[in-house]
Every structure is written in C-alpha cells, then in structure tokens.
Amino acid sequence: MNKAITLEIPSQVEYLSLVRAVVASAASLDQSLGDQRIDDLRLAVSEATTNAIRAHARLDSNERITIRFGIDGDRIEVEVQDRGPGFDPETLDPAGPLTDTGRLEYEGGFGIPLMKILADEITIESADEGTTVNLVVYVSPPSEKSNN
C-alpha cells in the first residue's frame, strides 16, 4: 500500500490532538467513509500514539513518532511507529471485565482492546528497536467486506 501522508511528531502528549486532526482530515478525503468510522479510526490512532509516547518516555527518548496514512479506494491504513523498548503483544494479560472484584483498582488496560475492536484489521510488530502498529479501516460497509 502506498503510504500517501507521513507525519512526524515529537513524543509529547500535546501533539495527540494534532494527530487526531490529521486523521479526521485525511479520512474525510475519502468521501465514502462515514463519520462513525472516522471517529473509530481517530480513537484507534490516538490510542496507538499514546502508547508510542509512553514507550518513548520509558526510555527517556527524544525520538519522534512517525505516523503514515495510506488511502486507497476501499481501505484506510494508518501505521504508528515508535522507537521504544518494544513488548510482546501475545503475552498481554487482559484486565478482565470492570465488574470483576478489584478491577476498579486498575485504571489502565483499555488501549489495545479498544484498538482491536475499533479497527477492521490490526497488526502489531514489536522488537527491541521499537513497535509498529498498523490499523486498517474498511471504507465500504462491513456487509460488503471481502472475506478475511
């Protein structure tokens, strides 16, 4: 996929709203993507960027975060790349439903589950040099989705 737009931002929370503005603006270039799906993509990308900023903070890193947008006919793809410490997405322990005893003690753990629900496809590649999260939203409604 041709990555049409590239955005690099400092690893600072102040830039999250700018990233969301770019997602909304880029997604609206595709007239056929509904507002609801733009909201979904905006939140998913915001979550991935938040995790990237946290990952850099853990290394005290000043590196920038790279976000690539690709739009083609029937899908919008957004890739969020950091140079943080990496992690193993397979071994994440889901926090369990909020109604579980003690679950309210923990304020985190919503990011990756939300991305998984909001995006039509998600892949996370992570290694010691950093993490790349790839989010895809289909432009055509789910009923018209090809099998995958």
Binding site: S46, L104, E107, G108, L118
Partner: protein
Amino acid sequence: MMLTLSHSTIGNWTIIHVAGEVDMATGPQLRQEIVRHVSEGNIHIVIDLQNVDFIDSTGLGILVGGVKRARSNGGDFRCSGLSGSLQEVFSLTGLDSVLLSVDLNQDPSTWEPLNE
C-alpha cells in the same frame, strides 16, 4: 488543547462539567478535579460530559478511578450527557456497567439506585 472544568450542585450531588477532549494531555486536570472533590467530602459526583466529544483510554481510566474513589468513600459516581460516540466507547469497554448514566433534568431521587 485545554480542558475546561466547572462545577455545580444538585441536592447532595456535585456535578463536574467538562468541556474539551479528554486524553493523556488533558486527563491529569480531570483526575485532579475529581480527587479534590472527593477529598473535600463531596463523594456523590456526576461527571457531565455533554461538551466532550472525544475521550480516550486514559480518560476512561480516570473515570474508573472516580468510581473507585467515590464508592470506597461510601459515595457514588455517575455520568451524564453522553454523545453517541462516547456512548459507543463506554459500551465497547464495558464502562457503562459500572458508570451509570443519569439525566440531570430529572430529580436525583428518580435516578437508578446502585444495586449493591
């Protein structure tokens, strides 16, 4: 990007009105406001999200923390004014199961009680 916070009271409830986008940049402001109210003994809180059109996982976590803080002090923590997109996020994450919505135009005595 700033969050605008104000508050009012209805009976023994403190209503915290939030305007803006709640994310990792603005969230700490909201957490601080909630903590302050609880520490001042205002343990019945409604978070009015009518003027919030974006909330991320950090914001959801802060609301979870609010539920915990209010309840562990013998109080309660509710929300109101959810837009469609916030409603979606609340239901996708199951937050709506512990953070009940109220209608600020109705008398608090009519609000759904906590079933505990």
